[in-house]
């Protein structure tokens, strides 16, 4: 019997709806396997700004620090998007949370589900069998470098990477590659950027410790093309923060729906799990949001807890929903199920 404290940051838009279904799945796991999971709901994002003026209130951060894991729905509200001069933005809360919790490795598995191939914009023969994991550095680079305005009105963003920041995520990526098909692709822009050249040096050095892993290097522009031309070539992709943001969202098209893709953001102390989709405010409250990405994020949380059997039972229940077509409208236009129906079907199958 395991006892785990999980902080839930439902966030904005469809965040609360999808979190509810992931929590339902986690409760079903606790019931079936006799674990004790407690859920502590805290504010983050636009809802936190509305309530407290701060996208990441102290109380939320404290709760996350004390938790065994964090489940995040989605944050963001259009009222902040086209307002470049807004002083407080929901995203700041997310970035501060990642940094404060030391979540340096964002891990995004991308799989082409056989049953959903027709939903991808890519031709079937290109994606069938595609199965990769993207390791994106999450607490460094241009996201967290100095930024601001100069006196002449120009703006700047600085990107820095230390050896240590590269090493710790590189080791995780190499270990994942060892446990998978043994290939690691570093995505960088070493023909232009000094930080990329450092990434290449460090990865070349570390690769000596993983003789079974084949290392490949791709420039990010080429990678953006290869991701669509031949996604099956990828096993583990390792990249820095900004490139990872772009490449991993691009890779999501392979799965046929953003609503299927989970992610884990891990550090040495704790970990956060969230779907890769956004807060999708237009869909809020309509029951059309796909909860599977969040449920699969919960499965990654279980694996993080060392609960492999439990995670498997969640994955099986999700596979069953895919198999039976118990899916939200974007994947089953003919006889769609609601967010809650999909979540209940999965929970019931655990």
């Amino acid at each position: 019997i395991l006892s785990k404290r999980i902080v839930v940051l439902s966030g904005d838009g469809i965040g609360p709806e999808v979190c509810q279904e992931a929590v339902r799945a986690l409760k079903a796991v606790a019931d079936k396997f006799g674990h004790d999971f407690t859920f502590d709901y805290q504010l983050m994002g636009a809802c936190a700004i509305d309530a407290t003026g701060d996208p990441l209130p102290e109380a939320t951060l404290d709760a996350c620090r004390r938790a065994d894991a964090v489940l995040l729905g989605a944050i963001g509200d259009p009222k902040y998007d086209n307002n470049p001069s807004a002083k407080v933005r929901p995203e700041q809360g997310l970035l501060r949370l990642r940094k404060s919790l030391g979540l340096y490795a964002n891990i995004r598995p991308v799989t082409a589900y056989d049953r959903l191939l027709e939903h991808s914009p890519l031709k079937k023969e290109r994606i069938q069998g595609a199965d990769m994991v993207i390791f994106r550095e999450l607490t460094g680079g241009v996201y967290f470098g100095e930024k601001g305005r100069n006196e002449d009105g120009s703006a700047y963003d600085n990107c820095t990477y230390s050896r240590f920041e590269i090493e710790r995520i590189a080791h995780r990526a190499f270990q994942a590659a060892e446990a998978r098909r043994g290939k690691l692709t570093l995505v960088d822009k070493a023909n232009v950027l000094e930080t990329s050249r450092l990434w290449r040096e460090v990865v070349q050095d570390i690769s000596l410790q993983y003789p079974k892993v084949l290392v490949d290097y791709l420039f990010v522009d080429n990678a953006a093309m290869q991701m669509i031309l031949s996604p099956k070539q990828f096993d583990v992709i390792l990249t820095e923060n900004m490139f990872g943001d772009i490449i991993s969202d691009e890779a999501s098209v392979i799965a046929g729906s953003l609503g299927l893709l989970p992610s884990a953001s891990v550090g040495d102390e704790t970990a956060l799990f969230e779907p890769i989709h956004g807060s999708y405010p237009q869909a809020k409250g309509k029951g059309i949001a796909n909860p599977i990405a969040t449920i699969l994020s919960a499965a990654m949380m279980l694996e993080h807890f060392g609960l492999q059997e439990e995670a498997k039972s969640v994955r099986k229940a999700v596979d069953n929903a895919l198999e039976q077509g118990v899916l939200t409208p974007e994947l089953n236009a003919k006889s769609p199920y609601t967010t809650e129906q999909v979540g209940s079907f999965v929970a019931y199958g655990i």
Copy 2:
């Protein structure tokens, strides 16, 4: 009768082969329309390093400065790619050339050719009718910011943008949008980067001068996804240097072959025209390189000279090659034509 001095930088790999065919097309135009084009061949890239130690010798830069336009094949050699400590790299020549000639706007049209839809990795219904132009800022941003190593071994790359740098390319992009379908999409990361917020401010300001243009703002991660999910939504895309590098290479998959896509890099003084593909060293000398991207780059050069009729006749000849299947192996596996055969067919049709 027009008299024009064109510098040809054939470069490395397949560069010389494809340049030869573009020059053939330009000579056919000169013959037919009675213009006087002179071609001045100069060294740049790996071949220039081999010959002079410098990827952009003074003589080359001088010749480009005095020319009416520059035609570039491709540069790059694998011997420099996985050697992060190489002191001299072919790419440095290209970057220095862009900066020295003030080529601040890289313009890349991307079209889904009806006859080649089957060659795209994307499903036909997603791309049929897609037709966009990407305006990538080319002489600023992280490419040209300060970069280096700190004493502690960390590396840095700084990104800076001034209002002026954004304004001059934004005006070009808005003008293009006015002359096309009237939509401009700014791709940035304004939820994280200060430079992106400046881009958004400047574009919002400038948009007031172009009331007929509808302006849309997309975060780069979302844009990387939208480019594949629904490319038809795009008309003119405007973006900074690094994002443009990634997004425009990604967009190339829509056309079905990299070998079809031309580009222009223009400044206030001169302009450079090049295919977007690389030097493809594995294909060198085999006669399998597609010359169409370079020939269409020559057509853009003619338009730049104000020779609309002449450009049209080149485009028509290219369309005819596509129509008749006079194409290199990647687009016509069954009865492929050589680089020279495709080039001759086009030149003959002018």
